[in-house]
């Protein structure tokens, strides 16, 4: 199976970078905007994806040159494997604006957003990021026009169904075919959904349970989709569970501490609940009630591009900026 996989040249063409329209002077992070005062900030350069040798744990004699070519696109120049974040979170903002700029309906923006998401998932698989959390639908988004909300939920249902068939396929032949096209997802993607699912249509709730159950054993990447999610609500529901436990005498009130709350939050479905890097698109400088508790020490990265325009280059910028930062967690380095 492995030798078949690596002999297929299509793997490389799919992995090659797609050109995306870029606005001139796009913002890497806010430091740029304050250069009228004085600049102490270095701007991360854009990197072309250059082929270079990368370490591999696969040892296939037959397709060795193809292996080198495929894995050599693993990390772009300048990114260090040991400094890659384990958990990346993304606020996918700007689909509506993207569509409006092109005179299209909002649904077209959301469809384009799904394409961007697929590309990001692929990149995360390739570059060894273990958890990707995406803010698909906030608890505050319920107030949007009913038509848009229904479209978003049906889009989510469709995307989930099609990914379910791809990622969780039991059939060997289907899996082989899929792995040939996307070799980086060997090992499978585990999908988890967080948020207040009681407000979602029943069919969607059922589908979510099926997908979570079927992909539970996958190990390549954990994709956490936040739907109808609010950071404050997450903490409130953790508090409710804790209050129940205290009422039943399982714990004392004095025993309530940070790790107890962490265990009750919805992100307890993953080994790495705290994002290392949060990316928000469309130049909005706020967190909008996403992963409130978990963002305590997360590095924030704000991008000017709208979500459908967020691609490999922008992701490389974000990772480069992340790798240059000194994370001290309140202590001192020296």
């Amino acid at each position: 199976m492995l030798s078949l996989r690596f002999a297929i040249p299509t793997a490389n063409s799919i992995a090659s970078p797609k050109p995306k329209p870029k606005s001139a002077g796009s913002l890497q992070f806010l430091g740029n905007q304050t250069d009228i005062f004085s600049s102490g900030v270095s701007v991360p350069k854009r990197y072309d994806c250059k082929l270079q040798a990368a370490p591999t744990d696969v040892d296939v004699v037959n397709g060795k040159t193809s292996v080198a070519r495929e894995l050599s696109e693993e990390l772009p120049v300048g990114l260090k494997k040991e400094l890659m974040p384990k958990h990346v979170a993304v606020i996918m903002d700007g689909n509506g604006r993207w569509a409006r700029q092109r005179g299209l309906p909002p649904s077209a923006g959301h469809e384009a957003g799904v394409k961007s998401l697929r590309e990001l998932v692929e990149l995360c698989c390739r570059w060894g990021i273990q958890v990707l959390t995406v803010f698909a639908f906030s608890a505050e988004n319920w107030i949007r026009p009913k038509v848009e909300v229904e479209f978003l939920l049906s889009l989510f249902e469709r995307a989930l169904k099609s990914e379910f068939e791809s990622f969780a396929s039991e059939s060997q032949i289907e899996l082989l075919f899929y792995v040939m096209l996307f070799p980086s997802v060997r090992g499978g993607i585990r999908i988890s959904v967080i948020g207040d699912s009681s407000k979602l249509p029943t069919s969607l709730q059922k589908l979510i349970n099926e997908v979570e159950e079927a992909t539970k054993q996958n190990t390549k990447l954990q994709l956490i989709v936040a739907v109808s999610y609010s950071g404050k609500y997450d903490v409130v529901q953790a508090c409710r569970s804790i209050a129940e436990k205290a009422k039943d005498g399982e714990i004392q009130i004095e025993d309530i501490n940070e790790s107890l709350i962490e265990q009750e939050l919805e992100t307890n479905c993953t080994e790495y609940p705290y994002p290392d890097l949060l990316i928000r698109t469309s130049n909005e400088l706020r967190v909008s009630n996403f992963l409130l508790w978990q963002l305590a020490y997360t590095e924030l990265f704000f991008v000017r591009e709208l979500w459908p325009d967020f691609g490999k280059d922008e992701f490389v910028d974000a990772l480069t900026s992340y790798q240059q930062r000194q994370r001290r967690y309140g202590g001192r380095h020296s």
Binding site: T34, E140, I143, K232, V235, L285, L292, E299, G331, R332
Partner: protein, 274 residues
């Protein structure tokens, strides 16, 4: 802020600066002015090293910068100012540095109380300390309580100093208090009164004294919240400057307010929809 002994040119410059700031305030006041601005005061020690100051000199410079920022906020009409002075994580630093910061705080409080340098009182600012104050030494805690009592009657503005504070600790404390209240015997008698809501937790946060911040400004180029006001910052404009905290000037505040004004109408529309 004028002291005896300052020469005439310096006074003229100060008055000119004041006039210029008045002009800026009138211009900015055409748009919405934030109610609450929070500062993450990062970079004091690096500033001290850059300027070759003694041990603790950077933190003294940081304190002066805080006073200036509070003054500028008062001039702009910003009623609530919060400053992240010392995190619970900062206790991990060297004992000398921690002791230096505690001594500096006690010294400045004493100066404020004894009217040697009572800037905050003269500005009509009420000073409040938020955090797990039980972690402070007894002299520090006494000084803090005395300052809070002495300025309790001031009402022009509220300066909240987050000391021995982390947002996760604040939320744990709020959860504990909420559970305590909900599980009190008289509560359980009632029907379903023990259901926890968002308002229950918000009531017990240390920062319940102030509304949610409109802007959080972080200095020294860091793009993270570092466990500061996580609960309250969901719709806050997050702004980072590459300058170190003691190098902050009123221009930075002006820039931050302009950015806030840019996003204000969109956010207000969203709030009304909710």
């Amino acid at each position: 802020m004028e002291k005896d002994g300052i020469n005439k040119p310096a006074r003229v410059l100060w008055r000119l600066g004041y006039f210029l700031r008045e002009l800026i305030v009138s211009t900015l006041s055409v748009g919405p002015i934030p109610t609450h601005v929070a500062f993450i005061m990062d970079g004091n020690r690096r500033y001290g090293k850059q300027q070759h100051l003694n041990q603790g000199g950077g933190h003294v410079a940081g304190y002066l910068a805080l006073k200036l920022m509070v003054l500028y906020c008062r001039e702009l009409g910003i009623k609530y100012v919060t400053a992240y002075a010392f995190s619970i994580d900062n206790f991990k630093r060297s004992p000398e540095e921690v002791r230096c910061i505690m001594d500096l705080m006690v010294e400045k409080i004493e100066q404020e109380l004894s009217q040697v340098d009572n800037t905050f009182s003269r500005m009509g600012v009420r000073v409040h300390f938020s955090g797990k104050l039980e972690l402070l030494s007894q002299p520090a805690m006494d000084a803090v309580k005395r300052l809070m009592a002495a300025t309790a009657g001031n009402s022009k503005a509220l300066l909240t100093i987050c000391f021995a504070y982390t947002s996760t600790d604040e939320i744990v404390h709020a959860v504990q208090e909420t559970c305590r209240r909900k599980l009190a015997p008289d509560q359980i008698e009632g029907k379903g009164n023990y259901v926890v809501k968002v308002e229950d937790i918000e009531k017990h946060l240390y920062m319940a004294v102030a509304p949610e911040p409109d802007i959080i400004i972080r200095t020294s180029g860091g793009h993270r919240l570092s466990n500061f006001m996580l609960w309250q910052s969901s719709n806050t404009c997050l702004i980072t400057f590459s300058q170190l905290w003691p190098a902050m000037s009123c221009w930075h505040l002006v820039w931050a307010v302009l950015k806030f004004q840019r996003n204000y109408y969109y956010l207000e529309k969203k709030k009304k929809q909710m």
